[in-house]
């Protein structure tokens, strides 16, 4: 035990080990934050997508990158009827409401999309709305009139007729005063208003309206093609990756070591069987088998973990441990243990395994990122866990949507950076540990 502590104390002399430990600490802190800030079920629900994200832009880059470049790309601006003043005139049988949604648009870039969400609680007769756009200069632009269902989404930026009238896509045309066909359109900053005139046919009915002007950038890590904030996946990917890597590494190294020790101790046919099984296992291709299981059964991350551990038990490491344990078997202290009547299990677990544990620690630490990348690899192949957000799944989505081709570099770089940090953190620590715990390397 003391030699371990000494070894750990020696770690401080290796700058790479300290850096690795810091990175790991950062990851663990992120994981704890993710688990506490977004509960497991919440994370699953969020990543399923849908209405939770309807206010976020599609494929928006991270805001801070744009600001670093000195860009002024638009962020998302919302205006809700809850904060608006509503004027109401009552006539015979009908009421006419005028809601004015006001919003300040102070960005240098155009928005990516304009949507209006309408909710109405009528009983039988649908209300009728008339939409007018008012620019900061007071110009008025008629956006159309329509009947409103219980929940309605008006995609103003996809209105073909409006585009024809403006000469630009609506999300550009509504925010510029440059006449079409002359030069690059320039943003007109200022306070815009959307006037919603509603004709209600029922006494109690009311209308809620939310205008969302989607930005070109969003948050720390941007959003994906389903408007999901990548922050959720990058945060929650951390505990998933760490848990998978750690459990797989523990599961494979510990069982491998115990089995190798048992083989060495019992010798004879037990040893021979273990050796043959190892040879068979080396021939089994791990990734294709995982792919096969993922396709035929389930892609649950826990099933994958189980298979990885089962296939990892008889790994090539057994041969290495065996070579290390063979001399240990002959050592006098084992003889002494036999003399006092220690059971086989006791000799294996208490005397043989601990003897080579220090050698195992570096291997163990360097194995963790291998499994983290394995999980990411499966996800990139489209066999990620069906419900959990992971880094690999983000990469898979990015690949499937040709993110690089479309220039959404952030979509690939975010998860890749997280994977890199994990890989580097553990590998740097592992290499330093290797030099400390493997005496033959120490002089080198």
């Amino acid at each position: 035990m003391t030699s371990w502590l000494e070894g750990l104390a020696r770690l401080r002399k290796y700058p790479s080990a300290v850096a690795g430990l810091l990175l790991i600490a950062l990851l663990i802190a992120t994981a704890i934050y993710a688990v506490t800030a977004i509960p497991y079920s919440e994370a699953q629900k969020l990543w399923r997508g849908g209405d939770a994200w309807q206010d976020l832009p599609v494929n928006a880059g991270p805001a801070w990158i744009d600001r670093l470049h000195g860009g002024e790309a638009a962020r998302t601006v919302r205006a809700s009827s809850d904060d608006a003043t509503i004027r109401e005139d009552a006539f015979e049988g009908v009421r006419v409401q005028e809601t004015v949604l006001e919003l300040d648009f102070e960005y240098g870039g155009f928005p990516s999309e304009v949507n209006l969400f309408l909710n109405s609680d009528f009983e039988s007769r649908q209300p009728f709305v008339r939409l007018t756009w008012r620019t900061p200069d007071g110009e008025e632009l008629f956006l159309g009139a329509r009947r409103v269902g219980a929940t309605e989404r008006v995609s103003i930026s996809q209105d073909q007729r409006l585009e024809g009238r403006l000469g630009y896509p609506p999300q550009v045309g509504l925010f510029t005063d440059t006449p079409p066909g002359t030069s690059e359109p320039a943003v007109r900053q200022g306070t815009y208003e959307l006037v919603i005139e509603t004709v209600q046919f029922e006494e109690q009915a009311s209308l809620e309206a939310d205008l969302v002007i989607y930005g070109q950038v969003h948050g720390l890590f941007g959003t994906d093609h389903q408007r999901r904030d990548l922050t959720v996946a990058l945060l929650w990917g951390t505990p998933v990756a760490l848990a998978f890597g750690l459990l797989a590494a523990v599961g494979t190294t510990v069982t491998t070591l115990i089995i190798a020790a048992a083989g060495v101790w019992y010798g004879g046919w037990v040893d021979a069987t273990i050796q043959r099984l190892t040879e068979v296992n080396i021939i089994l291709p791990l990734l294709p088998i995982l792919v096969m299981i993922g396709t035929l059964y389930s892609t649950s991350i826990w099933l994958m973990l189980g298979v990885v551990v089962v296939l990892g038990i008889f790994s090539a490491g057994i041969k290495m441990y065996r070579a290390m344990l063979l001399p240990v078997r002959q050592s006098p202290y084992i003889e002494a243990a036999r003399a006092y009547g220690a059971s086989n299990a006791r000799i294996i677990l208490r005397y043989m395994v601990p003897r080579i544990l220090p050698v195992l620690i570096p291997t163990f630490v360097t194995l963790i990122p291998t499994y983290v990348f394995l999980e990411a690899s499966l996800a990139v192949l489209g066999l990620g866990d069906p419900v959990l957000p992971t880094w690999g799944k983000v990469l898979h989505d990015a690949q499937a949507q040709s993110a690089l081709y479309h220039g959404f570099y952030y979509w690939v770089i975010g998860p890749a950076a997280m994977l890199m940090v994990t890989g580097l953190g553990f590998a740097m620590l592992g290499f330093a540990l290797d030099r400390i715990f493997n005496p033959r390397l120490r002089s080198a």
């Binding site: 040879e279 360097t366 489209g382 890989g423």
Partner: protein, 387 residues
Amino acid sequence: MANGNPEGRTAAALPGTGPAAAPASARRGLLRDVRHLALFTGKRLLALFLTVVVGVYLTIIIANMGGQVDELRMAQIQSEVAEQVRGDPAFHDLDSEERQELMQRQIDLEVERLRLDEPFIWRSFDYLRQAIFLDLGRAEEMHSDAGSRQVYNIIVERLPATLLLFGTANLLVFFVSVFAALSLSRRYGSRVDQGVIALAPSSAAPGWFYGIFLILIFAFIWPLLPSGGMVAVPPPEDPWAYAASVIRHMALPVGAMFISQIFISIYSWRTFFLIHSSEDYVEMARAKGLPDHLVEQRYILRPTLSPIVTSFLLMLIGLWSGAIILEQVFNWPGLGTLLFEAIGHRDTPVIIGSVVIFAYLLAATVFLLDFLYAILDPRVRIDGGSQ
């Protein structure tokens, strides 16, 4: 795999084509070596064949654990029979009940023919025999570029691309790292040496990971190289232009594998050479005043060759697995991409067939390196591998 034996003999016999005046004892020694080598090769072939059989059998068991393969076959039979009955004008006059009956009869016949009514354990041996002889069945959705629906043809069509890419990358990594490590072990402690040690952790990430960045940088930010594929579209007619195009397309994937492997390889071999260059016999050779390159070749490289070969084997095995994703990322038309497409189509026969082929590839790798090992390690040659 079966012709590994005669090849082995010729390879081992090559050194024997020396001067005819060689002493008779040397010839006897050579004969003994060849005999031992053949014996060893035979033993290893048999052992590896058995391991492949067990491995493939395990694959079949895993694949069919939930009766999945049986269900798929049943569905296939049903649809085939239905198609046949519907397409045959002779049965057009039958009413639906009679037709159902006829179909059921034919399905039963087919089930009996394929012995689907027997317990799985009996049939599993049947599948095993088919898989071992690479009779991998018909694909459900996919077909080869030549139009064949046979899984075997689909896979064989993709194999050369995979071998080309991975052969190139592995050999490159192997030779560069061994020679770099040799020269580093001479100058250990230098700036370059420390740089390599510091860079070694970068190998924690697999090749496809670096591939993403290489594509980002060299295909999109500075569009110098193609981002994926194997040749330009349409493929050039001139064979030289064709080769040049393939090389251009190979640059990024090979580069990605190279980056992910090279530092760890140099690091581990450097450490290895360092340990071995502090052996007494090496010190002795240095003390004798032998030139550096002779010490390196005869006293360091020669005794360490067999462990080097072993670690090369382990690296190869690791790379085969990584291949799938690397190919997919670079859209390289090899086995990995095939497997990926098969996942997309849920084409079970292709997936199982790929696993079998991968198992064979791994076994072939192991065999090749065992064989090299046998030639390199005098103990195997002289004792006939009876350790």
